[in-house]
Symmetry: C2
Subunit: 431 residues, 2 copies
């Protein structure tokens, strides 16, 4: 047994989990290390941020997902250092773990392009904690306004600003507009929640720019129908508590959310001297790191140029496909076979806009409106396979859809200091 | 409209909510003030602490519960001062609210009998945040042990200590034993979670001492069958990070929970010079405060002696019945009728022990075992009326029951610093 190879996987996202499952049953010992105990189903994180779903419904314990993988152990820990020459990595508290093979799938965080102080005023949405914090701010903003209106007869305007019109930004803006106009409307008596402004700011000239132009235009129209104001060609160049500067204009802001710019895990820079501007490691055709053939980098951390010159996008299907290739290449090594090259199969993409609209593009297939939303729903239910709670998630969705209710409207954590109205834009609590 | 009386209710627990509902439609304007945006269904809080239910399933937005009460406004805020002579109260940030009638239903917190520094090492269970923190510690303890076992081959013993064998303590101890022996057993590969000790420490000579002696004895037996060690006549006289001193013995402790001692909201002391040792206000027969007949104190904050000399217990049904009396007495005032006196109707009590056992006592009726658990289940489902999610809660319960799964096993917040093993017993995060 002592000659069994040790494989270490860093990260329990889509890529890391898939790699662990692909290595299950092989003649290797696998350790999967993550700093969270749970896998987060990121495509639905915006539904936690907007109080439709509970955190537990989109997060599942990693060790439960892998409980039947007898040769996979799950370790809760944060990797600080990778010594690729010594085939060793170190956890934050100094614990040392050796490996024969390493698969690095530590993902990405949002990037503030050097303005990290903006995060306090405009948090991003990558983790369950992020989602709880955004939910807290959004719900508190309405509470603050209601209290102000009850006690003084008037209130500061409610302005929600979402920065970046990629899928996350579009989904968030649509969902916040939905909260304001429908879900909360009957519960607030002193304010008219429907008067809240939702402003989506995008530096490019269209929303969802990975889709074709006509779908972008349709998505913009759908957003505007929901009451979202879409500002295109507009760059945010300053953010301060309670305000966001877009171009030359300061916008008073109750809650701002950062939904643009990602930056790969800093672990990449330990593997390659020159990572790209997004922090990604340029990998070999077999996904290994040049100079460290026993180390693979996959998912959002990997920079892989396709034969047409375009980069593989940082999406869940790409991470899953890369995990497949990396695991297969380890098996090939063990079996004395030649490694295979990675090839990305784009199965299309989809984004949802509000409660019942979406856009879908797969090759020549283009869907919009309700039918696209049904397709989106169907695919995401399928993707939830492996999650024990996929039935309850669907039940919650349909409940929200039918009743226009928000079931998870919980403000937890932080303080409820409300005076001045924007005081709650304080540094993010250690949630 | 200007001569409509203003009624202010402090607290959105069982008492405050019931009072608001009873005042709905009367010729008064009502403001309900709470420092949380949600009502917490406390009887099921231990199920959040032990990862069976999600926080959103046992908490519901107060303003949604009262959305149809047109003459009731909900204010998110923390009352700091009551000036009963001026009929005015002040919120934490200085906002001032006047009233004609005041109903104080601010409940109780746990009391450490002057040792408030114990809370860091042994948090209590009164709020959703408390439950999330206890869940975090319990789940982390298993993670720490697993990681230690993977990296070193051995691990520190897992000892869970629950202090106080009232209903909350008994429910928690039973549920933690259930987690260790069943729910987590298959997911951990390096440790045997069933070896974890669960120790329930009680100062009195039996568990659940508000029940008759034979039921107490049965509950103790049920607990021991689940693997809980019950220490009776044992006083905790010191608590430090990682250890609890019971009598003369120090017990190494992975996680400690405080489930004994309650102390009424400090607002009571602003209404009466001499509150009792538990901080309660001694109220008149009509539940008003001597000297301030327009102020009512109800629920856990009220000390009310019954004709047989016993005190009304601090339980949800008593709070609800008191709310009824206080609201009716306000209506009587408005209608020029005489006020009525409060009378407590004890409908019996129940406590659950682990996954499928309970005890029930109502007058001469005594139930134990599975049939008592079914009765407990039935009553709590009924009690959840008014909660939109009572169906999903029941669905989650049955899922947990059938699959022995834990659906809400999320560690959020705090840090995952694990070295030394007990380092996570750090001051409670600002959740």
């Amino acid at each position: 047994m002592t000659d069994r190879k040790e494989v270490v996987i860093i990260g329990g996202g889509f890529g890391g989990l898939k790699a662990a499952k692909r290595l299950t049953g092989l003649d290797v010992d696998v350790k999967l290390i993550d700093k969270k105990n749970h896998h987060t189903f990121q495509p639905l994180l915006y539904q936690v941020a907007t109080a439709v779903l509970s955190p537990g419904e989109i997060a599942s314990p990693i060790r439960r997902i892998l409980s039947r993988s007898k040769n996979v152990e799950v370790v809760l820990g944060e990797v600080k250092t990778i010594d690729a020459e010594a085939n060793t990595l170190f956890l934050r508290d100094g614990d040392e773990i050796n490996y024969d093979y390493l698969i690095v799938a530590a993902g990405a965080r949002h990037s503030y392009f050097g303005n990290d102080d903006w995060e306090v005023s405009a948090p991003g949405l990558k983790t369950v904690e992020d989602a709880i914090e955004i939910r807290r701010r959004v719900l508190l903003a309405f509470e603050v306004a209601e209290r102000e209106a009850i006690l003084t007869g008037t209130h500061e305007p409610l302005n929600f600003v979402v920065i970046g019109a990629g899928p996350t930004g579009v989904e968030l803006a649509g969902a916040i507009a939905g909260i304001a106009r429908v879900a909360l409307a009957n519960d607030f008596k002193a304010i008219d929640t429907g008067q809240a402004r939702v402003i989506l700011i995008e530096g490019g000239d269209r929303v969802l720019n990975t889709f074709s132009e006509d779908l972008s235009a349709r998505a913009k129209q759908d957003l505007e129908d929901l009451g979202v104001e879409v500002l295109l060609n507009s760059f945010v160049n300053e953010i301060a508590p309670g305000k966001v500067k877009a171009g030359e204009e300061w916008i008073d802001t109750s809650v701002a959310v950062w939904a643009t710019g990602v930056s790969a895990s800093p672990l990449g820079a330990q593997l390659q001297d020159e990572v790209d501007s997004a922090g990604r490691v340029t990998v070999n055709r077999d996904l290994s790191v040049p100079g460290s053939e026993n180390v693979f980098v996959i998912g959002d951390m990997a920079r892989f140029e396709q034969s047409d010159g375009s980069l593989v996008p940082g999406v869940a299907p790409a991470a899953i496909q890369m995990a497949d290739t990396a695991a297969r290449n380890i098996r090939n090594d063990l079996e004395g076979k030649e490694r295979g090259e990675f090839e990305y199969h784009d199965k299309g993409s989809m984004a949802t806009i509000g409660r019942s609209k979406a856009i879908v593009e797969a090759g020549r297939l283009k869907l919009t409106g309700f039918i696209a939303w049904l397709a989106w729903l169907f695919v995401h239910v399928l993707l939830l396979v492996g999650f024990k709670n996929r039935l309850t998630v669907v039940a919650e969705w349909f409940w929200a859809y039918l009743t226009r209710e928000r079931s998870a409207r919980l403000i937890t954590g932080g303080s409820i200091e409300l005076e001045p109205a924007l005081k709650f834009l304080k540094p993010k609590a250690d949630l």
